[in-house]
Amino acid sequence: MRLRLNGITKQFPGVLANDHVSIEVDRGEILALLGENGAGKTTLMNILSGLYRPDEGEIVVDEKPHAFRDPAEAIASGIGMVHQHFMLVPIFDVTDSVTLGSEVTRGPIGALDRPAARARIVELSETYGLDVDPDAMIEDLPVGVRQRVEILKALYRHSDILVLDEPSAVLTPQETEELFVIIRGLAKAGTAIIFISHKLNEVIEIADRITVLRLGRVVGTVTPAETSQSALAEMMVGRQVQLTVDRKDVTRGEVVLAVKGLQVRDDRGEIAVKHVELEVHAGEIVGVAGVQGNGQTEFVEALTGLRAVDAGTITISGTEIHQDPRYIADLGVAHIPEDRLRDGLIRGFTVAENYVLDAYHREPYSSGIRLHRDAVAAAATQAVSDFDIRTPSIMTDVGSLSGGNQQKVIVAREFGRDVKLVVGSQPTRGLDVGSIEYIHRRIVEQRDAGVAILIVSTELDEVLALADRIAVMYDGEIVGILPAAEATRERVGLLMGGVR
């Protein structure tokens, strides 16, 4: 066996992240590690790559036990990681990024031998069909190519145990297919591959064996042939899961959100949203699909008043809006931001304080300069029970809640107003399946009650499950709008890659 993890245990304050986890993978084999967010996959991989040290258990490479003290030792044993958040230096070129840490040098002072390093990268890139330009700057490369640079980094270090952490999270379905071709090629050449994912269809497609993790423990190992998506989901969550969302037929009403010729710039001053035209009617869910970083963040920030509009107009129920978040909220817009702790909640504030962030300045929560703590507490207590927020008390720091409960605090606050439009950006990012179901149900309830809903998500499955109409964003533009009935994975996937 090329690699075996025996009884790995890792305790963090308050969480047993890995509880006697044992997995194994052999040369030429693709092992999928399946689990929800928080199941302990990433902790396990950080242990394997030498970033964390386990409290118990051993890592056995070629039947020899190892205790990695740092990443250099893991790399020396042949383990290569492709992290979910790429570990590249944006201002370096591909050659420098790949060789960093194992540079090709000449002479006693370590002068870089760039021509030799470049030649080696060209050779590797050609051997494995990675198609990477050794002279390109990392910051100019699309994410799919950056990922191949990460794979190159591992190959350059002679890694024959390759760990990919959620590799498809940033890819279109077609790019994912290309990645799978590369992965299968590497496996055929004798590399042992660990493929970490929470996407059921992917692990069934790529893996030879699937090990499922739940709450830090191995639930079981199966082969794709003997399992199905629903069986895997049940293993992953620990109960029966409904993979689709129930919804009523609702006739759509008048236009609530109208976006005309919208242009928005990003922080660097580049045009991030180009001439977007979009309408959302009362009683419908419009989903905006797209690979991360194609202008969705800037689009949502413009809609919610967090970012200036460069050109064009945004109208909500006939009122043109400007950069004024409170005014927009008071018009009846609920905002579920993509980054909970940056734009949704204030860490260090209590659940109750976060619940009244949109209304603390008004009756009944305050009058004049006085804040009525009783009224705040009463409203927050009610919200905690209405929205099933699991918190020790309303005076608990919101930062100490789980992601799912933090998201419920936001949903409780935002849906507590008289809502006409919901703008949800990655509304279920990083949540467990139970919380995802809950948030989806609340969103569909709003739609059924005649609210206009815009959901922006990079999870294609989420958009397909929720939306009545699907708009695809690519390079700042809406490249197509499809009714749900015509939106197959393939059609949407091609649009996500910019193919019209």
Partner: protein
């Protein structure tokens, strides 16, 4: 403007329009300044007034006649350059490299004003250049110290304090050991230790790097003032480290204009050249430099491939401190021969400004330091030639130049991404 460009304007976005309008405003300013200079040259200066610049020292082997410039003519040349630049700016308002244009205008204008102020006198251009280099040299060291720290991702605001303490240590050490070279060694070592102290505060204890540096600066000012009044004034023989003399390079130091400035200095000058070249090569062409830059840009990425982020940062801070201590020793053994209260005089901060102006790049820092050194040398030279400008204005000149350069010329340059953020090793 052509019809096509007018059509463009209607579809331009707010930001493009802003850039376009700013360009037109700049063009108008250049034109106004240019016209003013031409006007001054034609009507406000006596037609026959000359400024005779000396281009060689009296003791030089090669002797050349003075460079006589008509004041009015110099103003007019500057004015014409201003108008040409205005024209360039006007024809493509938002697309020209306006920082470069602005530097050109500022330079010719500064030279014209200088010639005007000195009208009728015989100032020494070669002396001005020598002074420029000797004022620039400590700024170069301060700037290189700043680069070493920031490239590794740690901000070193404490350079000013390290220079001051390094100067004090050099003076006392040199006096005690009776040898200025020993004093320099002690100055460098104390700088290194202070750099490590900052590193421990910033890296191990995650103290805010601006605050740690500021505290060091305040402490350095307090400690050295106390030492000076209580020890050095009581026992003056502890403040006599001796001087390091100049070592002229044969032939090269005889080149008119630039020879005395560039090739007739103490070993600090040559050490400066070597350090600039070595650092430039080391940062961009060696394994050490690649890792240093990686750690400063994305420490997590460096750590995942087995690079010891903290060790690189500790070493960089130690080197940064040592170079700053070297700058402090220069002030003592080359400039004054003894330690004086507050003798760092903002060199550490100007060094940080030079780092930014020079784009975190050693050769760039050298260029920036020359600009600042020129301002300081112009201040001292104009004072001695005896011009009709109040000395207060002359003495604020170097700082005004620093502010103009950093605020106006540099704009938004991109430094290492992770500067100022502590790295948490898991």
């Amino acid at each position: 403007m052509t019809g096509a460009r007018m059509a463009d304007e209607t579809t331009m976005s707010a930001a493009d329009r802003r850039a376009h309008n700013n360009g037109l405003i700049r063009a108008a300013i250049y034109a106004a300044v240019g016209l003013l200079a031409v006007f001054v040259g034609l009507f406000r200066v006596p037609a026959d007034q000359l400024t005779a610049y000396k281009v060689v020292f009296e003791e030089s082997v090669i002797q050349l006649p003075d460079l006589s410039l008509p004041v009015g003519g110099t103003y007019m040349v500057a004015g014409v350059v201003g108008l040409i630049v205005a024209g360039l700016q006007f024809t493509s308002p938002s697309s020209v490299s306006w920082r470069r244009l602005m530097s050109v205008v500022l330079f010719v204008l500064a030279f014209a004003v200088l010639t005007g102020i000195l009208g009728g006198k015989t100032p020494s251009l070669v002396g001005l250049m020598s002074a420029t280099v000797s004022f620039a040299l400590p700024i170069v060291f301060a700037g290189l110290a700043a680069i070493l720290a920031e490239r590794s991702g740690v901000m070193n605001i404490g350079i000013e304090g390290i220079i001051l303490l390094g100067a004090a240590a050099t003076s006392i050490g040199g006096s005690l050991l009776g040898n200025p070279l020993a004093g320099i060694a002690i100055g460098v070592i104390s700088g290194l230790l202070l750099g490590l102290l900052l590193a421990v505060l910033a890296i191990r204890y995650h103290v805010d790097q601006v605050i740690a540096g500021t505290v060091l600066n305040l402490a350095a000012a307090g400690i050295t003032t106390f030492m000076y009044t209580r020890i050095l004034q009581v026992k003056p023989d502890l403040n006599q480290p001796g001087l390091v003399g100049a070592t002229p390079i044969p032939f090269l130091s005889e080149i008119p204009m630039i020879g005395p400035a560039l090739f007739n200095g103490s070993f600090y000058l040559y050490a400066g050249y070597i350090l600039i070249v070595i650092m430039q090569l080391a940062i961009y062409r060696t394994r050490w430099g690649l890792r240093l830059r990686a750690v400063g840009e994305n420490p997590k990425a460096a750590a995942t491939i087995g690079i010891d982020v903290l060790r690189i940062r500790y070493r960089a801070l130690a080197m940064s401190g040592a170079v700053a201590g070297f700058a402090g020793s220069y002030l003592v053994v080359v400039s004054t021969g003894s330690f004086q209260i507050g003798m760092s005089a903002g060199i550490g901060f100007i060094g940080i400004a030079a780092m930014i102006f020079g784009g975190w790049n050693p050769v760039g820092v050298a260029g920036a330091a020359l600009v600042f050194g020129f301002a300081r040398s112009a201040e001292s030279r104009l004072g001695t030639v005896g011009v009709d400008v109040p000395t207060v204005f002359l003495s604020i000149l170097p700082y005004v130049v620093t502010i103009i350069v950093v605020a106006g010329l540099v704009g938004r340059v991109r430094g290492p991404s992770s500067v100022g953020q502590p790295y948490e090793q898991s």
